[in-house]
Amino acid sequence: MKSLGSIRRAFAPWNDPNAKPYIQFENVTKKFGDFTAVNNLSLTIFEREFFALLGASGCGKSTLLRMLAGFEEPTAGRIMLDGQDLRGIPPYRRPVNMMFQSYALFPHMSVEKNIAFGLKQEGMPSADIQKRVAEMLRLVKLEQFAKRKPHQLSGGQRQRVALARSVAKRPKVLLLDEPLGALDKKLREETQFELMDLQQELGLTFVVVTHDQEEAMTMADRIAIMDKGEVMQVATPAEIYEAPTSRFVAHFVGNVNMFEGKVADRTAGTARITGASGAQIVVDNGDAKPGSDIVFAIRPEKIKVSSKKPAEGVNALEGEVYDIAYLGDMTVYHVKLDDGQIVRASALNAARISEDPLTWNDRAWVSFRPDAGVVLTR
């Protein structure tokens, strides 16, 4: 892959063959009766990584997290943490802490008692507990709420108490189950950045479960896309978006156009693809063999819409403007190609007045470079 990782900071132990894995799922399967929640899954997470498990509900991501916390035992396979096999270790002896989706704050205890709970179980001296609790309250900016009970707090404050409680013991790994799910949109965005700062500050390994792709893209170093108990792809947010390895991932994250066709022939790194209607496009290929059926997946913002036929060197397909959605910062065009396929293209409104105004039912050309999308074989 062409240096997509450089968008993020230089932290990339997954590219270093000598890096020591921190959390390892080795061929883990979890069955509930006849239902297979997690199917023969292997996954490696590195120390200090902010790792996101992303998937629709019921894909097994929460089960994976609960197995790591010790609430469920794998039916087969094993989970290693820092070189230690976690099998048979109950949740109260694991060096991981979890922040629950419902926050699970103890309703009969004040904020400071909630935060101190884990430290008390450890048998920490009470002077140290007080110091740590004060430090945690400062960290989440809730100093003046120490004596309040959970029901006397707003949703955002409860979320921060839950966070403070789960990091108070300085766990090796912090597990977050939909940590921002119950917050409203604006608060969620702020909290995303707070979480990232906190992770940097404490130097912890975070594993977060979410169904919100934007949240995962914003916060995570790497994302695992899950479907039906299996990992579809593990990669950085940029790689997931720009270089999905399957149709599922391409569809799951962001919008995408799919051109289906057969490889006609290939020359020097490019392949010519013939669609069902006979239209031909040239793409940078993977290892597609001539005659094989493939899909070319391309994001809407990589496609240009124009009223005149573009110059040579790019793929150009002709059609008619079918729908226009003006969103302010950008405009989304739906162009119906002559073979009936509808192509979604988005254009940034960089200028206030467009030089090439298009309107409904205009003839238009959609064009894209051979390397603007990816070839998918599965």
């Binding site: 916390a69 949740p91 103890f106 029901h151 409680r165 789960s166």
Partner: protein, 272 residues
């Protein structure tokens, strides 16, 4: 609300309340009767209350009733809570349906049958009837009420609270005593109060299972009434009614206050 007091509505309300409370009001009024005749008003007096406290038989019976109530309600609460926990937590063990049916059967079982079968059991195992047997019988029949009350609370209990406690390093037993028990405590307390009240006013089962020296207040009152109602009994009943009414009023006021406070706190929290 549409508050039109039609003649029909007023009549229904008056009749309904009269039906419910007329006997009780009569009882209270006649407890202050000067006359020894229960049905003839002879002027106001509190003399029956004085003589009530000098009636050793009634006082003994009251004391037995209170002791039976305290002990049986406490034991029934422990057992009922355990049954409720089992029924809500272990939903897949063999014979769960049978077990839950058996826990709740005494709710609908005619008291005569419960009393009689307990009597047969005590005779069969050779237990002398007395304080112990009444207490055991009361534990048996109040336990299911506690189980129902506690179970209904446990159904809505958020299991992630317990998981959070364990995740933070508390072993299961500690988790139960530090998290689960405090959270479901209000339900356990109301279960206890229900069991205590049921034990206080039970006549049928106590009659079957009690023996000499362990006469409960309801039994005593009933046996005295058979010899003729004295105003003393009216006085005893009036005190009972007063105690129960005060208890109910205090409980509901406390509840209401807590609710209002909670609402105010939540609104304050939302404002920030």
């Amino acid at each position: 609300m549409n508050a039109t007091w039609s003649r029909f509505n007023i009549t229904s309300v008056v009749l309904g309340f009269a039906f419910l409370y007329l006997p009780i009001v009569l009882l209270v009024i006649f407890s202050f009767n000067e006359s020894k005749l229960v049905t003839v008003w002879g002027g106001f007096s509190t003399k029956w209350y004085v003589s009530l406290f000098q009636n050793q038989g009634l006082m003994d019976a009251a004391w037995v009733t209170i002791r039976v109530g305290l002990i049986s309600a406490t034991v029934a609460t422990v057992l009922g809570t355990m049954a409720a926990l089992t029924l809500t937590r272990y939903t897949r063990f063999r014979g769960r349906l049978l077990f839950s049916g058996m826990v709740f059967a005494p709710l609908v079982m005619p008291e005569v049958i419960t009393g009689l079968s307990l009597l047969l059991l005590f005779v069969a195992v050779g237990l002398d009837r007395g304080f112990l047997t009444v207490t055991l019988a009361h534990i048996t029949f109040t336990m299911c009420f506690v189980a129902v009350v506690v179970q209904s609370r446990l159904v809505s209990f958020d299991r992630s609270l317990e998981e959070a406690a364990m995740d933070l390093g508390a072993p299961p037993v500690k988790t139960f005593f530090q998290i689960t028990l405090p959270v479901i405590m209000p339900a356990i307390v109301s279960g206890w109060m229900l069991a205590f009240t049921l034990s206080l006013d039970d006549l049928v089962i106590a009659s079957f299972t009690s023996g000499p020296g362990a006469t409960t207040l309801p039994m005593k009152i009933y046996s005295q009434v058979r010899l003729g109602v004295t105003p003393e009994i009216n006085a005893a009943c009036t005190i009972l009614i007063a105690v129960v009414a005060i208890g109910v009023v205090i409980a509901s006021i406390a509840n209401k206050r807590r609710e209002v406070q909670r609402l105010r706190d939540e609104q304050a929290a939302q404002r920030g």
